[in-house]
C-alpha cells in the first residue's frame, strides 16, 4: 500500500503533516454519517453471525468460570456463597428474574407517553442543527 502524503517535516524533523492528516482522517465523519473510528473500535460487531458467536463465547466463558471454582480456594463468610458455582448461578437467576418480571410490570405500569400532559419536547440546549421549532411555545426544542 502506497502513501501519497509527501514527507513534510517540521523544524525538528517530524512528519507533522502526515500525523495531522491521520488524526483528521480518524475524526472526519463520512458523507454517510459513519465515523472512521467506528470501524476501528466496533467494526467487529458487524461481522456476520456475531450475535451467535458472542453468545457461544460468553456461554463458554461462563462454564469455564464456574469450573474455576474447583481450582480456587474461596473463603466465604456467608455459608451459602460457598456452594459450587454459587455466584454464577445467582447472577444468571437474578438477571433472568428481573427480565421476566419486566413483562408483567411493563403491562401494569406503562401508560401513554403524554400521560401527565407534560408534552414531549427536548431540552433547549440540544444541538441547534437537531432542534426543530416547538409549535407550543415557539422556542427551539422539538425532539427529532
Amino acid at each position: 500500500m502506497t502513501d501519497d502524503t509527501p514527507p513534510v517535516r517540521d523544524a525538528s524533523g517530524r512528519f507533522v503533516k502526515r500525523a495531522t492528516e491521520t488524526v483528521n482522517a480518524l475524526s472526519r465523519t463520512s458523507d454517510e454519517g459513519i465515523h472512521p473510528m467506528a470501524k476501528v473500535l466496533f467494526g467487529w460487531t458487524e461481522a456476520k453471525g456475531i450475535g451467535t458467536i458472542l453468545l457461544c463465547l460468553t456461554g463458554l466463558l461462563s462454564v469455564l468460570l464456574i469450573l474455576a471454582d474447583l481450582l480456587v480456594d474461596r473463603h466465604e463468610t456467608i455459608n451459602a456463597a460457598g456452594v459450587f458455582g454459587f455466584y454464577g448461578l445467582f447472577g444468571f437467576a437474578a438477571l433472568g428474574f428481573v427480565l421476566l418480571a419486566g413483562w408483567p410490570l411493563g403491562s401494569l405500569l406503562r401508560r401513554g407517553e403524554d400521560y401527565y400532559g407534560d408534552g414531549n419536547t427536548s431540552p433547549a440546549d440540544i444541538d441547534p442543527e437537531t432542534a426543530e421549532p416547538d409549535p407550543g411555545n415557539g422556542k427551539s426544542g422539538g425532539g427529532a
Partner: protein, 591 residues
Amino acid sequence: MPLLLTQINPGWLLVVAGLLAMLVSVKALRQAITLLAPMGAILLLATAQHGVDHLSQDMLGLTLSLYRVDSLNFIFGLAFLLAALLNAVYALHTDDRMQDGAALVYSGCAVAATFAGDLMTLFIFWELTAVASVFLVLQAGTRAAYFASLRYLAVQVLSGLLLLAGIAAAWKATGSLSLAAFTSLDQPGALAIFIAFGIKAAFPFLHNWLQDSYAKATVVGAVVLSAFTTKLAVYAFARIFPGHDELIWIGAAMTVFPVFFAVIENDLRRVLAYSLNNQVGFMICAIGVGAAGAGNALALNGAAAHAFVHILYKALLFMSVGAVLYRTGTAKASELGGLYRSMPWTALFCIIGGLSISAFPLFSGFIAKSLTMSAVAAEGTADPAMVIVWFLLLFASAGVLEHSGIKVPFTAFFGRDSGRRVKEAPFNMLLAMGMAAFLCIVVGLPAIVPGFGYQWLYGLLPYPIEAASYRPFTLGHILTQLQLLVLAAFAFMLFKRLRLYPTEKAGTILDTDWFYRRAGFEAVRWIDAVWTKAVSVGAQAASWAGRLAQGQLVAGFSPRGALSRSGRAGGMAVWTAVLLAGVLLVAFLSG
C-alpha cells in the same frame, strides 16, 4: 499560604465564581471562570489542615463553624470539586450565563455544606443547593421542565424545613449545634433531620423527585445534578447517623426496587436516575452497617469510596447519554440504536462507565463496592438478618449490570439500527468524558506501583489504616465477581436471543409520583369541584330561604298582610294608646 486563603471554604470560591459567571457576557471569560474556580478550590482543599476550625463566626447568639476539614468530608469534597471541573469542561460548548452560574453556585453550596462544622451552616448551604439547582431544570425551557422544577423545588424546600425544625428541636434540648452523631432517632430533632436527609437521598417512596427532574433538566444540567444532592445527603448520613440499623434496610430496599423500574423504563436519563437510586442504596446500607466512631471502619470506608467513584462513573454515564440527546434530540431507547457508527468515542466512554458501575475488575466500582459487600458479609456471621441484606445487595449488583452496564450502552449505541447518522459529540464533551473515563480506570487498577491505582483512593478514605489492610484483588474475589457478571451477561444475551427480553416501548412508567401528580391532583380537582358546587347550592338555598322569610313577613305584617285584614293599622294604634292610658290610670289610683 496566607492566613486569609486558609480560611476560605473552597465552596465559597465556587459560589462567588458562579455569581460572577452569571454577570459575565463574554463567553471566553466566563468559560475561564468556570474552569479556574474548581481548580483553585481543589488547590485550597489540598492545602487545608485537617481537624481544625479554619473559620468561625458568632451570629445571632450562635457560633457557626464555617470551614472544617476532616478525613470524612475531605473525600466527599474532593469528589464534588472534581465533578465541578468535569462539568465545566462538559459545558464549554454552551453559551448560557444562567446555567454556567447556577451550576457553579450549586456545586459550591454542596462543597460548602460538606465542609460545614455545625448544623446551622449545613442547613444554610443545604437550602441554597436546592435554590441554585432548580435553574438547571428550569433552563431546559420546556413545559415539562417548568412543572418538574416546581415539584423539585417544593420537595427540596420541604427537606430544608424539616432539617430546620430538627435543628431547632436539637438546639433547644441540648443548646448545641454540633454535628456529633445521634445515637437514637428518639433524641430531640433526630427524626426530622433523618427524614430531611432521607428526602435528599431519595429514600423509597420519597425518591421520585429524582427521576422526575433529572430526566427533564438540560443536557448539561442532568450531569451536574447527578453529582451533588444525593451524595451530600450520603455524607450527612455518614456524619450524623452512622450505625443506625434503619439505614441498613432502607438502603437494601433502595438497591433492589429501582432495578425493576429501570428494566421497563424507556427514557435513558430516567434509567440512569433509577440506577443512581440503586447505587445510593449501597452507600446508605454501608452507613447503616458502620457504627459511630471507629466502629465498622470497613463499611464507612465502603460508603465513602462508593460515593467517590459513583460521582465519577455516574457523571460519565449521564455525559454519554447527554451527548446522544444533544446530537439526536432524544434519549428514548425506543428511538435509538446503532449510534456507534456516528458516535464511537461516546460509545466507548459509555461502555467504560457501564463497566465501572457494574463493578468489573480493573474498573473503579469493583474496588469500592467490594468494601461494602465484605462489611455486610462480615456482619452476617453475627446477625442472620444481615445474610438477607447481603443477598439483596448481591441481587442488586446483578441488576445494575442489566440497566447501566448493558441496557444504556446497548440500546443507544448498538442493537437495532435506528438509522440516525449524526455527528460525534463536540470535542469538549468528549474531553470531559475522556477525563472521567480515565479516572474510572485509574482508580480501579491494582496498585502495581505502591500508592497508585486503588491504593490512592484507599489512602483518602476516612479510615486509611483499615483501608490499607483490605485487599480487593484476591483471586477468589475476582473470580466470584466475574462469575456473577459474566453469567448475568450471558442471561441477557440468551433472553435477547429467545425474545424474552422486554421490548423497549414508548410510554410513561407509573411510579410513586402518580400519587401526587395524578391521584393527588385529581383529588384536589374533585374537592375544588365539590366546593364550587356546594357554594353554588348554598347560595341558592340561602336565596330561597331569604325569599321565603321575606314572603312570610310580607304576608304577616304588610298593610295587606294577615294581621291587617280585620282592621286598619291606625285603629290598632288608637286601641293600644287607650289600653296604655288605662294601665297608667290604675297605677295612679292604686299608688
